[in-house]
């Protein structure tokens, strides 16, 4: 009998009305839909806050990557409160410090800088997903 290999659950910021939150979510969507669809799943923060059992279990039973919008770090905190552990944490503000040329503006729709920052962050997250997936493979080898 083989254990089921765990996915990487992406937990982005739910900050509606803030550019940082939008960058966080757009980055998560890009990883989920385009960059690493087979390896990742999405855990909406709102469902974790509401205590949705399936979402909490998905976070607790898989590998969690938190993508926080700001220093409040709600995504990281909710992973812990859901019984999970943050295997890798990202913060949009830190990503902006690494990519100062991409200044995000806009909320419902990001400006070009915001879209580029989300893409750059998505690439970083994808690399982290690769490393975490490799660790999973080695544990099941």
């Amino acid at each position: 009998m083989s254990e089921k290999r765990r996915k990487v659950m992406l937990v982005p910021c739910s900050g509606l009305g803030k550019s940082l939150g939008t960058v966080s979510r757009e980055a998560a969507y890009e990883v989920l839909e385009d960059l690493r669809p087979a390896e990742t799943g999405l855990a909406p923060l709102s469902l974790l806050v509401l205590g949705d059992e399936a979402t909490r279990a998905a976070v607790a039973d898989n590998v969690a990557v938190a993508i926080d919008g700001c220093k409040l770090a709600c995504a990281s905190k909710m992973v812990a409160e859901s019984g999970g552990q943050v295997a890798r944490g990202f913060a949009v503000l830190d990503a902006y410090r690494r990519h100062r040329e991409f200044k995000p503006r806009g909320i419902a729709e990001l400006n070009e800088g915001g879209r580029k920052l989300a893409h750059a962050l998505a690439e970083e997250i994808a690399a982290a997903v690769d490393a975490l997936s490799k660790d999973e493979e080695e544990q099941h080898a």
Binding site: L20, C70, K71, L93, Y96, R97, R100, P104
Partner: protein, 150 residues
């Protein structure tokens, strides 16, 4: 221990230590003797500006006049420019500003200091600054105005 004036508005609490002076734009000025003053951002200004991504401070050794720019604070929301509250020579710049400018948000009156200025005429410049109570009253009005307009 330093006394602190506090103002709470909704979920926000703003602190104003009483051991220092303030410029109208929200820089604090702490006399350290020998005409030297340490400067930084008030709690209200750092909270209003948001998470600091970058802080650019005028270089050590430079001389600044009262209307000269001494710091630019860049957050995701805004770029805020600050003029020197005291004329003189910049004799120290907080090295943390290059590597961890979030110290401004985490500890605006302590580890988040910006620079030390050796004042040319501290007695004259002090007269242009606000005492803690005067800054506190103005800050309260600004915070309430912000709350009304947001």
């Amino acid at each position: 221990m330093t006394d602190v004036l506090e103002f709470t508005l909704d979920k926000f609490k703003f602190e104003v230590p009483t051991d220092r002076y303030y410029s109208e734009e929200g820089l604090w000025v702490l006399p350290e003797g020998d005409d030297r003053v340490r400067i930084g951002l008030s709690d209200f200004v750092q909270q209003r500006s948001g998470d600091v991504a970058f802080a650019q401070i005028t270089a050590e050794g430079a001389t600044v006049g009262l209307d000269d720019e001494v710091a630019v604070i860049e957050t995701i929301k805004v770029d805020v420019y600050f003029n020197a509250p005291v004329a003189g020579e910049i004799v120290a710049v907080n090295p943390e500003m290059d590597v961890a400018p979030e110290a401004i948000n985490q500890d605006p009156y302590g580890e988040g200091w910006l620079a030390v200025i050796e004042a040319e005429d501290w007695e004259a410049d002090r007269g242009r600054l606000l005492d803690p109570q005067a800054y506190f009253e103005g800050m309260k009005e600004e915070a309430q105005e912000d709350a009304r307009t947001l």
